[in-house]
């Protein structure tokens, strides 16, 4: 009997049912590199992509596949592929769709590594990118050229927390027959499912909220199956004959899952950014509690926003759920459950104040990650961007008093007390 299970149930169950031989309730960790073939015929069938199955863990693995199928179910996608990191996922998508001479339109307000990949690495391979304001759909439309093969952005920008108007941008991409690729790490499918808003491909850093415990690096691509790759001039390596398997057309043979089939046959096979089965297991353990954690992340975020907005030592607070945020209306529309648990705020006293605050808190961890169950902080002015002047930081959308906070799941009053400790240290400094 088909039930069409809901999100919380799928978070726990999708991708795995206990096997009849062992009855293992948990997804087993298939810590193996390879799989015994029952016959030469079976081996040939797998190599020729005649049927599904596992050949070699660089290409696929049963534990990793359970994670992939869980992600496909949670996002409402046709298929998914997990890999070694979010950046690996990003590179796999770009290299699967684009070839030398192609062009990308991307958000100018993104995670530094995403910008680096598109601005510095891909041009060496003949793929160039124009960066535009993600909040300006007309600018995106104007930047699209005849050789543009994808539009890329982050649903919630890192670190600026800009919100992309996904439905508007999806309309533009759809009218130009260009796939909209979104990094949905900060929202997770719990807060927003981009395919419902017209996006075509999602990339995730699973390391963050989906994994949620800061113990395993991983990434994923989820394919909506809602993009027509049939234009052989525009997407020749997906719809036209591919060098692999005697000239296979992934679009004709795999339809909605063409992109994932191609990435598995080419990207995983040739580049090899595979996810370890053990990390897949750890990430799946995180996903089992994703709905519970995201509810608590949002609840704690809203509480800490009240605290910070009203605190005498705080100069400014930035979060899309605040009415003062320039994208607040878009956030309300596409992220009604909340706009994530990253908060940026400025401490009165500038760069030295930020440093004093960070060095005085005890419970919040000072490190360069987000999306952990534990509260995390970083002060770019004294760490990642300490070599830059105040002016140079401003040009990059940062200020030297800015603290980036990833709100965790602790009792929020303990976090507030911890922050008061930091603010007292700043007060002493200011005296």
């Amino acid at each position: 009997m088909s039930e069409n299970y809901k999100f919380d149930t799928l978070s726990l169950h999708a991708g795995h049912i206990p096997d009849k031989e062992t009855g293992s309730r948990a997804v087993p960790i298939y810590q193996t590199t390879s799989y015994v073939f029952n016959s030469t015929e079976e081996a040939a069938s797998l190599y020729n992509m005649e049927v599904g199955g596992h050949l070699y863990t660089r290409i696929s693995n049963p534990t990793v596949a359970a994670l992939e199928q869980r992600l496909a179910a949670l996002e409402g996608g046709a298929s998914a592929l997990a890999c070694s990191s979010g950046m690996a996922a990003m590179h796999l998508v770009v290299s699967a769709i684009c070839s030398s001479g192609d062009h990308i339109v991307a958000s100018s307000k993104m995670y530094g590594a995403n910008i680096n990949l598109l601005q510095h690495t891909m041009p060496r391979f003949g793929v160039n990118t124009d960066f535009v304001n993600p909040n300006d759909p007309e600018a995106i439309k104007s930047a699209i050229k005849p050789n543009t093969k994808l539009v890329f952005g982050e649903v919630i920008g890192n670190p600026g927390l800009d919100i992309m108007d996904v439905p508007e941008i999806a309309k533009i991409c759809n009218s130009k027959n260009i796939p909209l690729v979104l990094d949905a790490t900060f929202n997770t499918p719990y807060l927003m499912q981009p395919f419902k808003h017209g996006a075509n491909i999602i990339v995730h850093s699973l390391t963050k909220w989906l994994g949620g415990h800061g113990i395993a690096i991983g990434g994923a691509i989820v394919n909506g199956g809602n993009f027509d790759w049939g234009d052989k001039d525009k997407f020749p390596t997906i719809s036209g004959p591919h060098f692999a398997l005697g000239g296979i057309s992934f679009w004709e043979e795999f339809g909605p899952s063409a992109l994932i089939a191609k990435i598995r046959a080419e990207g995983m096979y040739n580049f090899g950014p595979s996810l370890s089965p053990t990390n897949a297991f750890h990430l799946m353990q995180g996903i089992e509690t994703l709905p519970l954690r995201m509810k608590k992340h949002i609840e704690n975020t809203h509480s800490i926003l009240d605290f910070l907005v009203n605190h005498e030592m705080v100069e400014w607070v930035k979060h899309p759920d605040l009415e003062t945020h320039p994208d607040h209306e878009v956030a309300k529309r596409i992220l009604p459950k909340g706009s994530g648990s990253i908060v940026a705020f400025g401490i009165k006293g500038g760069r030295e104040a930020g440093k004093a605050f960070i060095e005085s808190v005890q419970l919040a961890s000072h490190l360069a990650n987000v999306g952990d169950a534990k509260t995390l902080l970083i002060h770019p002015g004294s760490t990642t961007h300490s070599h830059l002047s105040s002016e140079a930081m401003k040009e990059g959308g940062l200020t030297d008093d800015m603290i980036r906070l990833s709100v965790g799941l602790e009792d929020i009053n303990d976090i507030k007390k911890d922050f008061e400790r930091g603010f007292r240290a700043v007060k002493k400094l200011n005296k």
Binding site: N4, A14, N48, G53, S60, G255
Partner: protein, 265 residues
């Protein structure tokens, strides 16, 4: 491959190999609202086994243009004309769901000159409830989603798939969305209106195989078992899955079909 057939662009899946009229041809017929992608894991499998494979997208389905056929008989005549156009003679027809009804009618047209008939999740009748008939007109996308949900067994609910990373629901919905919006409505009405199945089944004189699904909610097992009793010497198997057994139990289905084919003259 794409051909111009009856004045319309027509897509024929060939499993990644060229169509060779000198070989035995397996002609796969998709079900209501489906297209050649219903047989992702059969087309390449049998093409690489040395058979010539043809999986047509019926008019208005998948990559084919044209207007949808409006009855099972019209579907069967279209397939018959296609086999003539392609000059295919040594043909085994494999139908899934509605494709089984089309196969029954095709066998009547061809007067038992096919090499064999294979029925996957089939019956001699496929009545469709009025709610789904109405919905297929008013909101074909919603109707497709409901069929995808009803049509799969627990593997669909739980996103269990032999193909790593693939989702039955996500893939199934998008396969149905590739068709022209009117395709599903005409398919479902064709199934509902078809009433010659008993005579057609009794008339079968070629080797026949039926593979049924234990948890089939579209063509229930009970109906499938009654159907196979009408056919003289029909080899019958039942798999533990839902209606979409080509994707739910691909290896098991392929193995049964392969054994049957090897025993044909």
């Amino acid at each position: 491959m794409i051909i111009n057939f009856k004045g319309a662009k027509t897509y024929l899946g060939t499993g990644g190999k060229s169509l060779d009229i000198n070989k035995r041809t397996l002609c796969f017929l998709h079900g209501s609202g489906q297209n050649h992608l219903s047989f992702i894991q059969q087309a390449r499998f049998f093409a690489y086994k040395g058979y010539s494979v043809v999986v047509p997208d019926m008019p208005a389905h998948g990559f084919s243009d044209g207007n949808p056929c409006k009855s099972i008989k019209e579907n069967a005549e279209w397939i018959n004309d296609l086999l003539v156009e392609l000059n295919l003679k040594d043909v085994v027809v494999i139908g899934h769901s509605q494709g089984c009804l089309v196969a029954l009618e095709l066998n009547r047209i061809l007067k038992n000159s096919l090499e064999a008939l294979i029925f996957v999740a089939g019956s001699n009748e496929i009545p469709v409830n009025q709610f789904l008939l109405d919905l297929s007109k008013e909101n074909p996308q919603k109707a497709s989603q409901m069929m995808v949900t009803w049509g799969h067994g627990i593997d669909g609910d739980m996103s269990i798939n032999k193909w790593p990373g693939h989702s039955h629901y996500g893939e199934g919905n998008n396969i149905m969305c590739m068709n022209k919006p009117t395709a599903l409505r005409y398919d479902l009405h064709s199934c509902n209106d078809y009433s010659d199945g008993i005579d057609a089944a009794k008339n079968i004189k070629v080797p026949a195989l039926a593979v049924l699904a234990k948890n089939d909610q579209m063509t229930p097992l009970k109906s499938g078992l009654k159907f196979v009793e009408l056919i003289k010497n029909c080899e019958t198997h039942t798999l533990d899955c839902g209606h979409f057994l080509p994707s739910e139990k691909p290896m098991e289905l392929n193995s049964i079909i392969n054994s049957f084919l090897l025993n044909l003259k």
